[in-house]
Symmetry: C2
Subunit: 351 residues, 2 copies
């Protein structure tokens, strides 16, 4: 493996677009939430594991999440990452049943994130957290984060206490993101209580499988419920190579249209752009977080568009330097690699 | 579009490997099951729709499912399909809470199917139905179907009243399939009660999305629970271009191994073949039912293997002649197309 360096000597900068951090306030709130009765089973499975487990992997991850300084920068240097686009780690405040506290934690996280970005403007950029549990304040926080803190995107860790963003109660949040021209990074969460059953029972509720189907479904719900007909300029970013939606595209189009024609569900109405795939190509960006795999990346570039596929590492959850080297070595033109690693991110996150 | 003909003049026969039929006994049992208290919500959503809805699509489908004679043969002729591999349509007997009745319906369906295959030996082949609700009798029926009826594969429509085939209670069924050298076609079902929640709420519980994630999860459970370490010669066929598991392959391997190393779930143990992908490549066949789309077919051929990707139409649920013409026109060598359309199926189903 050749040495990985920052600085762009290979012809492009490497901008990693789904990189996680935590705050002490969030970790404390998670610990308290885990002690409450009737805790969400996916949250218990995921965060109960990461916070308390003595194994090497969760310990490494928890130490790294907490750092927005020298350790993180050294890890980036060692992997040739020029810039991280930072997001408050999943499930962030989405699992907190106290909406006021969730809101305050998101606001504090944004202040801390903005500070780190100011301290290292050439290495860190960030996405705003918000707590959609209180849609009005979430909308206000998106506005503050963009106009005052310079955070040009929003991260929402999929379902909010089992509810989805197509629910009209969250309209203000989507409206604010669209108005601020801030894309929403729809990051995975574990499946909610009424979906997780057989995945939890088999140990497949987390990143290995449950994350992808939950978030893929959320993205799909946004499309089929008509969110992008209501907010046509809204852009959503999904990770993990589009949570497999590019691969499902043909079937999504066929069966969605068959269902519409048969009027199977009263509440599913024809879409303005007709096909699900039109929205995937015009209202979504997709990153390869967790999928350092040339075939899936190129497939997505081919069927969604090269200008909509972005590089992500998924630090600190998945950060082997070998993966960066493997992506550098993809059989892809330098021009396309530069879009993938650098210029698409610069455009989407207004760097 | 050029005329579609049977007979192989294009250099290969077209063998469609996931084609559905129904029996009057099954339809009657479904109607009665739908009237019982506490009916499975996915079954209610899917079959309640297909049986009773006046729209053109469900009516067309229900008429066609019932026919194993001239109408079906005419449809095959019009689409250039030389042979159908028939399977009792989903969810078949998997939803019936009366195990005896479920078993009898499966047995009768196999007799009817064998009769149709005898009547049209050059056009029809079939897979055996069984009711795993009574594992011992299901195992016996698999043996009878293979040795007496000439049905060389088994269809199981995913979860059985919310239970999965990795449950040790179903061991006899898997053992019989392995002993008879009969691959199991794991056909989709709607997600069970403890998974369907947010999909049903958004109208995404059926073939458009719920089918794929439920069945992909089932296939994955078989791997991660060690079914193929217990039954190493067992082969499983999954449709809909592998229910997207080929696309997820890199992430499945990475996160499964990370979970094993961290010992996150006590019941998840290391696998003999180590990686999930090794099982996908050695214990699975994948058909393109519902996915008449060159990019996804070629992707799967590339990452799983050309000898493991088979053609399917998904008649009568999805049967536009244009899809056959499109697949004929794929940019693929004649040799590879012949494997895809014909010779892989001949080998897997022992035609």
């Amino acid at each position: 493996m050749t040495e990985l360096k920052t600085g762009g000597s290979q012809g492009y900068l490497r901008i990693a677009t789904e990189e996680a951090f935590s705050t002490p306030e969030l970790i404390e709130a998670w610990r308290e939430e885990l002690e409450l009765p009737d805790v969400d089973p996916g949250f218990q499975s995921l965060i109960g594991f990461y916070i308390n487990h003595p194994a090497e992997r969760p310990k490494f991850i928890y130490d790294r999440l907490a750092d927005l300084g020298e350790t993180r920068l050294a890890d980036m240097d060692a992997r040739g990452i020029d810039r991280q686009i930072l997001a408050l780690t999943s499930p962030a405040t989405n699992v907190l049943r106290d909406a006021d506290r969730a809101t305050m934690i998101a606001e504090t996280a944004n202040d801390r994130l903005a500070e780190a970005c100011r301290a290292h403007p050439d290495r860190f950029s960030g996405m705003a957290a918000c707590a959609p549990q209180d849609p009005r304040r979430a909308a206000k926080e998106i506005e503050r984060a963009v106009t005052k803190l310079g955070l040009n995107a929003v991260v929402i860790n999929s379902h909010i206490l089992g509810e989805y963003l197509d629910n009209p109660k969250f309209s203000e949040v989507l409206e604010a993101a669209e108005a601020m021209d801030a894309p929403i990074y729809l990051h995975p969460n574990t499946p909610p209580r009424n979906m997780i059953g057989p995945m939890l029972e088999a140990g497949l509720d987390g990143a290995v499988f449950g994350f992808g189907v939950e978030t893929g479904m959320h993205a799909l719900r946004l499309i089929t419920s008509g969110v992008f007909d209501r907010f046509p300029r809204l852009q959503v970013i999904i990770g993990h190579m589009g949570e497999a939606l590019p691969f499902w595209m043909y079937r999504l189009d066929f069966m969605h249209q068959a269902g519409i024609r048969a009027n199977r569900y009263e509440f599913l109405k024809p879409l303005k752009k007709e096909k699900v795939s039109n929205y995937l190509k015009e209202n979504f960006y997709m990153t390869n977080s967790g999928v350092a795999w040339e075939p899936a990346i190129k497939f997505t570039q081919d069927v969604i568009g090269k200008d909509r596929v972005l590089y992500a590492m998924d630090y600190p959850y998945q950060c082997p330097a070998e993966e960066v080297a493997k992506l550098d070595a993809m059989d892809m033109s330098l021009e396309d690699k530069k879009m993938f690693f650098q210029t698409n991110a610069e455009r989407v996150f207004k760097l």
